[in-house]
Symmetry: C2
Subunit: 235 residues, 2 copies
DNA sequence: AATGACCAAGTGATCAGATCACTTTCGTTC
DNA sequence: GAACGAAAGTGATCTGATCACTTGGTCATT
């Protein structure tokens, strides 16, 4: 339809954005590295400052670059990603939120299974670190931190699959509407059970047992969904 | 870290972008509707034109709005989405591309199973339409069009699940690097087999057989992967 | 009356240069 | 050696103008 063949009239902005990405790639800059000043880019590409800024804003929106006031332009955290969470995602309806959790419950179990087959070393250590941190936060009673670390565990799990695209997908669905997801997860609530389940999943992945890892992850997420559905039906 | 608590110093641009989204929501504008001119927005929010444009570029990058030269600002196709394909995705390495297909092979089968349970009417019709179109394109020999329609089928299948988030995820992984995906799929190649497999999946969904729909979708995607892997190992 | 060419208004695209606000660095001072 | 502060570098925003594209209507032609 819209992407069908034909000469696409590339605007100056399209070229600019592409050129800047190419420049970053050429210099082999990585996330966090400083790029170039707005003025310098304007000179380099022979365009005006506002034009450069528009192009940068576009790149910024997808996490390709970051503009830090008074400091400079930096390579962003999401450069080179295929799938992104919408940074402009609206506050979701409760239906939409449940859909989001359902999506996670569908996607993450097979990802866990793959993780148990691949067992990426670095990610396994991250999972372990997340679990340790979670235990400490339960002890210290910092529930806000805890909720975030629990989300981290799911992301680390996905990274253990060794498939960057899957990790991006899981990252996306665990980042969008985090605030609301954490709220609804808070309803679910049993922190110790959560930790135990996470530990069991970690153990299954570590043991290289795909079926078990998948089943545990499914039960973990379905359990949350079940509680939520109950609460919503009879408040 | 960066998202941890504390007063986030919202820049003028953040406010602007949020305000414009709110304005669109207030007016209940839908995708494709005309919004407001840049100058008018500048007046309304008491900011300069370049500032409005930066904010619009940010919204544009995530598909929330569209700027059409000489015509106006319109509400974009991706407004309200949670997960997005990166419009700036770089040309992938062959490894990355295989990862992408693996991700699809992992995600889409359970989505097909859900689709067979839910069977969203509109999406079923879209699937049927896609199949008809594919058959015609095979006959007419328009292989470029055909490849696109085949991708459409996968998207329609995801929509039949009735879960918008899942549909967005599948849409994302079928849109990023389409060009390259289509190329690699072209290697795979047997167009008639593809159509037959799609038809079988459609039938399984229509019949409300989740296990079958899942198995067929898995075999379909795994089949593609197997062929690709073979070709890459012994060129 | 239907059709086509053409013109004008509205709107986005881009430019130029200037000023303000924030960060960082480095020399100065205690 | 540490705390302070000034200056340089850089992003943020403004002003106002000109160019380029789209669109709707006018008007002459048929």
């Amino acid at each position: 339809m819209s992407t069908s063949g034909g000469v696409v009239r590339r605007s100056l902005l399209d070229d600019l954005a592409a050129s800047m990405l190419a420049l970053i790639a050429d210099r082999k800059l990585a996330s966090g590295d400083q790029f170039e000043s707005v003025r310098s880019l304007a000179d380099r590409f022979k365009v005006a400052v506002p034009t450069v800024r528009e192009a940068l804003r576009r790149l910024e929106a997808t996490g390709a670059v970051e503009l830090r006031h008074g400091s400079g332009v930096y390579v962003g955290p999401h450069i080179g990603r295929l799938v992104l969470p919408n940074p402009l995602a609206p506050t979701p309806s409760s239906d939409r939120l449940i859909e989001l959790l359902q999506a996670r419950a569908l996607i993450e179990p097979p990802v866990a299974a793959l993780a148990a087959r691949v067992r990426t070393e670095a990610a396994l250590q991250r999972m372990d670190r997340d679990l340790t941190a979670a235990a400490e936060l339960i002890a210290s009673g910092d529930h806000a931190q805890l909720a975030e670390v629990n989300m981290d565990f799911h992301r680390s799990l996905a990274q253990a699959s060794g498939n960057a695209t899957l990790a991006e997908v899981v990252e996306s669905v665990t980042v969008v509407n985090v605030r609301e997801q954490l709220e609804i997860l808070h309803i679910h609530g049993d922190r110790q059970t959560d930790l135990d389940e996470h530990r069991a999943i970690h153990a299954a992945v570590l043991a290289g047992d795909p079926e078990l890892a998948e089943r545990l992850t499914r039960e973990h997420l379905d359990g949350v969904l079940a509680v939520i559905n109950d609460r919503l039906q009879q408040p």
